[in-house]
């Protein structure tokens, strides 16, 4: 009997050992999944990147994975109330959305075209207006972030054979050869290893960092980043405005504490983006609804900051401009009065400038806010991110068409050069505008007023600006 038991035990042990060695061998060989491209971050830009790659011809037999920490939203319902996070989508971005099939989805949900823009300030009467009357094109479209994300996700789900989306999965760590501590001496052309929070290990030829301004990919790749805290907060809210049949104008008034902007959402509703100091932001968020409404109206209408010296000089200058450019008179419109604010729609977030000095390394590329994050005063931030998506997908298409490895630095540098050429001037202009309007110092006020008035009088300059902002 003892013998039998012993034999049985031995057999048990033997079979366990065999099973263990087999499974450990399997685990070892399959623990490192291999992919061609992994996109980390499923926000608007990351999801758009996944969708664009899914539509890229030559990438059809490549394994593409998108990692997104949020759960999948199976039944999205368009809420009656507007969301307080919106974007001003440029015509170039509309082009990208059309290419990936998301634009129709957005139109079916909701978006508001902007036909006119008026920008002025509180220290003087100078104003600039933009409208594309000759070309009959809309300047921009105001769309809620949720709507954009849902539209792109819907398209992405129809590309499930091309792109695999892993919801509720985020990267726990990245091993970027040559950069990650402990792997500094590894050849930079070794594939990148990503460990997810679920313990999966993925080795990929190209890692695309779309994980926002505090990008972990950027940190892991030891990219050098220029950062400046603006020491401002942007207060957002959904406002009810006095009924105008055609709420298609975007308004922005520069105050010395920061610009206040109103973007149209529908004939009765507009979105507020008010950049101000952190203390004022807290104060505004704590106000009662009707006091808040008064504060907003006051910000758009008050005359307290008017600098009389500047006013008199600028008036004379305007008379001169009116004489010289007599067929281009200044048309100043009045913004609609705010009559209410959506309860619970007030929120704020801090503002900073972040710019990575490189957008690429061997086998790594940064897109969107991970590469560049700007002040929202010109509504350009997300459009630059979508511009990154268009450029990178084109460059990768070219790379694969030439038989190249998708992580090849030769092609990634093409993306970096092209995007830096587009992004840097915008970053510098916006940064410059922020500083220019952040003061009520008379000489600066005079300078910027005369400058603005001159620009407003020169239609071809304004057309150039529109063209630049639309591309």
């Amino acid at each position: 009997m003892a013998c039998n038991l012993l034999r049985h035990c031995k057999l048990c042990n033997l079979s366990t050992r065999i099973v263990n060695s087999l499974t450990s061998r399997n685990l070892h060989s399959s623990s490192n999944e291999k992919a061609d491209i992994v996109i980390s971050g499923g926000g608007m830009v990351g999801t758009a990147m996944a969708c664009a790659l899914g539509h890229t011809d030559f990438l059809q037999d490549k394994k593409i994975i998108l990692l997104e920490s949020a759960p999948e939203k199976k039944d999205f319902k368009l809420s009656e109330r507007y969301s307080n996070r919106t974007c001003a989508i440029s015509p170039a971005t509309v082009g990208l959305f059309q290419n990936i099939g998301a634009w129709d989805e957005i139109l079916q949900m909701r978006c508001q075209p902007v036909k006119r823009m008026q920008v002025w300030e509180s220290c003087s009467d100078s104003v600039i207006t933009f409208n594309d009357e000759e070309l009959m094109n809309d300047l921009a479209y105001i769309v809620e972030n949720d709507v954009i994300l849902e539209a792109i996700r819907r398209q992405l789900s129809s590309l499930s054979d091309r792109v695999e989306v892993r919801y509720q999965t985020s990267a726990k760590s990245y091993i970027i050869p040559g950069s990650t501590p402990g792997h500094d001496n590894v050849d930079q052309n070794t594939w990148v290893t990503i460990e997810t929070d679920k313990g999966q290990k993925i080795q990929t030829k190209l890692l695309i960092g779309a994980d926002g301004m505090n990008s972990a990919v950027r940190k892991a790749g030891k990219f050098h980043v220029f950062q400046q805290d603006y020491k401002q907060q942007a207060v957002v809210a959904t406002l009810e405005v006095s009924g105008t049949s055609d709420n298609s104008v975007a308004w922005q008034r520069f105050l010395p504490t920061g610009p206040i902007a109103m973007l149209p959402l529908s004939s009765n509703y507009s979105c507020l983006i008010w950049t101000t100091s952190p203390t004022k932001a807290k104060y505004l968020k704590d106000l009662q609804d009707d006091n808040f409404v008064d504060a907003v109206n006051d910000a758009f209408w008050h005359e307290r900051d008017k600098d009389s010296t500047v006013m008199s000089i600028s008036q004379k200058y305007q008379e001169l401009l009116n004489y010289v450019f007599s067929d281009n008179q200044v048309v100043r419109q009045l913004p609609p009065t705010v009559v209410g604010v959506d309860p619970g729609s007030r929120a704020s977030f801090p503002l900073s400038l972040n710019h990575s000095s490189n957008y690429v390394k061997p086998r790594v590329a940064l897109i969107g806010d991970a590469a560049h994050r700007l002040h929202p005063l010109a509504g350009q931030g997300v459009n630059l991110g979508f511009g990154d998506v268009s450029c990178l997908s084109q460059v990768l298409n070219e790379a694969v068409q030439s038989g190249s490895d998708v992580g090849s630095l030769y092609y990634l540098s093409k993306y970096e050069t092209e995007r830096q050429r587009a992004v840097l001037p915008v970053v510098m202009t916006i940064h410059g505008l922020h500083h220019l309007y952040n003061t009520d110092f008379s000489p600066v006020v005079l300078l910027r007023s005369l400058g603005l008035q001159s620009t407003n009088a020169l239609q071809f300059v304004k057309n150039k600006i529109i063209q630049q902002a639309s591309s």
């Binding site: 030559f58 037999d61 052309n189 594939w191 068409q401 038989g403 190249s404 490895d405 090849s408 030769y410």
Partner: protein, 286 residues
Amino acid sequence: RLGSQNKRWHSNHARPIAQSTIDEEEREKFQKLSHTWWNETGEFQALHALNALRVPWITNSLVEKQDQPPPLHTKPLLGLQILDAGSGGGILSEPLARLGANMIGVDMVEDNIRVAQTHLEEDPSICGSVKYIQATVEDLVETNEDAFDAVVASEVVEHVSNIDTFLTSCCKIIKPGGSIFLTTINKTALSYTTGVLAAEYLLRLVPIGTHDWEKFISPEDLQFLLDKCGFSTTLIHGMMYNPLTRRWSWISNSSVNYGLHAVKLHPQTSETSSKENSTDSVERSD
């Protein structure tokens, strides 16, 4: 006939030592370089950058010769057997394999073959499509007559000691109607100043001593040798490397770098057409 008397067969692992195009000095020089082959921003930067020119050129030329467009447009070279003569670290073999070709890469330096094989194993998608052999083109002649759809000898003939032997061997292993693609450097005063002096000593684009001007060959001489072997040259086009942008481009002037595409004539036409060879410098836009 060329090397058959000199062959000595050792064990099944040894290569036959045939009369060959090996140049002993060349071999030592390249052995030092094999470590940094795959660094795109290192010593071989120009060679990596050259892929942007030569891979589409080779692909388009081979696709154009087919009667029908390729069934899978992401793999235009599917079904084609191509030899990369002087494959080095595998810089050219890998992209061609990715586009569907069945590649064989030969190189005389064992280190290069080892580097190429190691790098190949990192990419499972092409592992089965490329075979590297330490050998010369000569060594393949006996067992591979008329076997290849194309032979690519890119940046190779300027390092070979006997071009005639090399080209004859290439001719023997290419199928009739198959192609040979060569990129090399012209033998001109300009190629000495830019290709050797400037490239090696001034701009350090390639390590010093990489090139020996005496071994450069003009497109006319190359074409003559190819005609003798039974090829018809269809294209000669100049190429230029811009050290500032670090990119290559096609140019009409072939005084320094140039590419040449020739097609192996079918046996019945080779005797009559040797007088009818035309050289077309075709404008290509990239």
